[in-house]
């Protein structure tokens, strides 16, 4: 088990260190996310009634688009100087490589969402202090990170990766996105965990499914 987890930690630490040095990803995502919400806020000229109806959608559009930006970068750095080949030449499993990269994307996205959520709450006038909302965000972000990492590994080999990634990514992640919007809507409406019904288990089930399938597909993708 240690042989499986150790490389995940090594890769995660490397990505965190690189992000601390370059600061190119998290700041870009933050600025992008805030711009999305501000634009929606002005475009909809939201009344309190309208805000309740559209807030979950706006929130997840901002998170999802920021997530795609993060995913676009996930393997670019590895590809630039052959770092991916360096990883593949190391005596570690492909699963560990995949999960290390997915863990880094998951953490970066959560960091961005943790900053964006209070900003959104201020602009759209809702309370972010809800356990069910936080759990929804964590579960949906995990699905995003896992699927996004796989498609990032696939599209990084192509020239038009910026276009190809969202085209491939969004159809697959749609069930998670729908589940996240619905769970957020009920959560903002004051529902408790129990009241969220089947949406949270659905998100959890998709996460579990993706966590099994995506590492396997990754190992197929990176083998020449």
């Amino acid at each position: 088990m240690n042989e499986f987890l150790r490389p995940i930690g090594v890769l995660l630490w490397k990505d965190i260190l690189l992000e601390l040095r370059s600061r190119e990803l998290v700041i870009s995502l933050l600025v992008f996310g805030i711009v999305v919400v501000v634009v929606f806020n002005f475009a909809l000229n939201a009344t309190p009634q309208l805000v309740t109806a559209v807030t979950p959608g706006i929130l997840w559009v901002a998170f999802a688009f920021s997530g795609v930006l993060a995913m676009n970068r996930a393997f670019v750095r590895e590809k630039e100087e052959g770092g991916l080949d360096g990883l593949l030449l190391s005596p570690i499993s492909r699963d560990s490589i995949f999960l290390g990269k997915a863990a880094a994307s998951f953490i970066f996205m959560l960091m961005v969402e943790a900053v964006l959520l209070p900003v959104f709450a201020g602009l759209l006038n809702f309370s972010p202090a809800s356990f069910s909302l936080v759990l929804t965000i964590v579960l949906a972000t995990l699905g995003f990170a896992v699927v996004g990492t796989l498609f990032s590994a696939i599209t990084v080999q192509t020239r038009s990766r910026e276009i190809l990634l969202p085209v491939l990514f969004f159809p697959v992640i749609l069930p998670v996105l729908v589940g996240a919007v619905e769970a957020t809507k009920q959560s903002l409406g004051g529902e408790t965990l129990v009241g969220l019904g089947h949406w949270l288990p659905l998100l959890g089930a998709f996460d579990a499914l993706f966590l099994v399938i995506c590492p396997w597909l990754f190992s197929v993708v990176v083998e020449e």
Partner: protein, 267 residues
């Protein structure tokens, strides 16, 4: 220059090379050959690159692989290092098959390719410590410092890779390849971009490896360098490998002519 492989070895095991017994380099396996390739075939689409290729490398020898651009030198090295899969044929590296036990091979080979595999925003030391941890070394920092020192980069150890010249990055890439003290070095044109002092460091590393009974295969377009460093020259042409002469005649005119001819474009 006659090859004198060290005839001492345990049978190959799948465990990571230990540095307990030997403080400098791991012991080479005592039996068998370092690399054995039989009937190797590899195509890209309908374009055959390697076909019916045979190659045997003994322990303790340095083989320089020559060939014109596009004949498949890098493809062959990628297959030996498990980065690429053969279409047909059998490959054994350090006694292991890339199909059945690629991880065992990865522990035992050190690769220098055209790309450096380094992260530009990490320092030299951080890069090597990162790879040391991936290889599960017990003392990654110590090993990293040792490798960096061996390639003459100690004074730039804390510098970010992006601040190094291309030649320095190349040296660091060589340090990365020898970090885990592999049994076989697979170097693709390692001398490119290196100045004279760096080439001396590279030669010292390669000599250290072969003197310890370990094996090196390297490609190069530098005829003089390749012929003066190698115990045997191999020429890749027409999808196959030919050894132009016996080991004792590396300096012979015939060898030089054959290798020079193989390096001509369009072959």
């Amino acid at each position: 220059m006659v090859v004198n492989p060290s005839p001492h070895d345990p049978s190959p095991s799948d465990e990571a090379p230990s540095d307990k017994d030997s403080p400098r380099l791991v012991e080479p396996p005592s039996s068998g050959e370092a690399i054995v390739v039989r009937g190797l075939e590899k195509s890209f689409g309908e374009w055959p690159v390697l076909w019916n290729l045979d190659l045997t490398l003994r322990w303790g020898e340095l083989v320089a692989l020559f060939g014109a651009n596009g004949v498949g030198k890098t493809t062959l090295l990628r297959i030996l290092s498990t980065q690429s899969k053969a279409d047909a044929g059998s490959v054994q590296v350090a006694g292991f098959s890339p199909k059945r036990n690629p991880q065992a091979i990865r522990r035992r080979v050190g690769v220098v390719a055209h790309q450096t595999f380094l992260y530009e925003d990490l320092s030299c030391l951080e890069n090597l410590v990162h790879y040391g941890r991936l290889f599960g070394l017990k003392d990654p920092r110590e090993r990293a410092e040792e490798a960096i020192s061996k390639l003459g980069l100690s004074n730039r150890s804390g510098s970010r890779v992006r601040t190094l010249s291309n030649g320095m990055q190349r040296r660091l890439s060589i340090a990365r390849a020898i970090l885990h003290r592999p049994q076989i070095l697979i170097f693709d044109e390692p001398e490119v971009g290196l100045d004279r002092e760096s080439i001396k460091s590279l030669r010292a590393v390669l000599e250290e490896w072969t003197e310890a009974g370990l094996t090196v295969i390297m490609t190069t377009h530098d005829l003089d360098l390749g012929l003066s460093w190698a115990h045997r020259a191999a020429v890749l042409s027409g999808g196959r490998i030919q050894f132009p002469a016996a080991d004792e005649y590396m300096d012979g005119v015939q060898v030089r002519q054959m290798v020079a001819s193989a390096l001509e474009p369009g072959r």
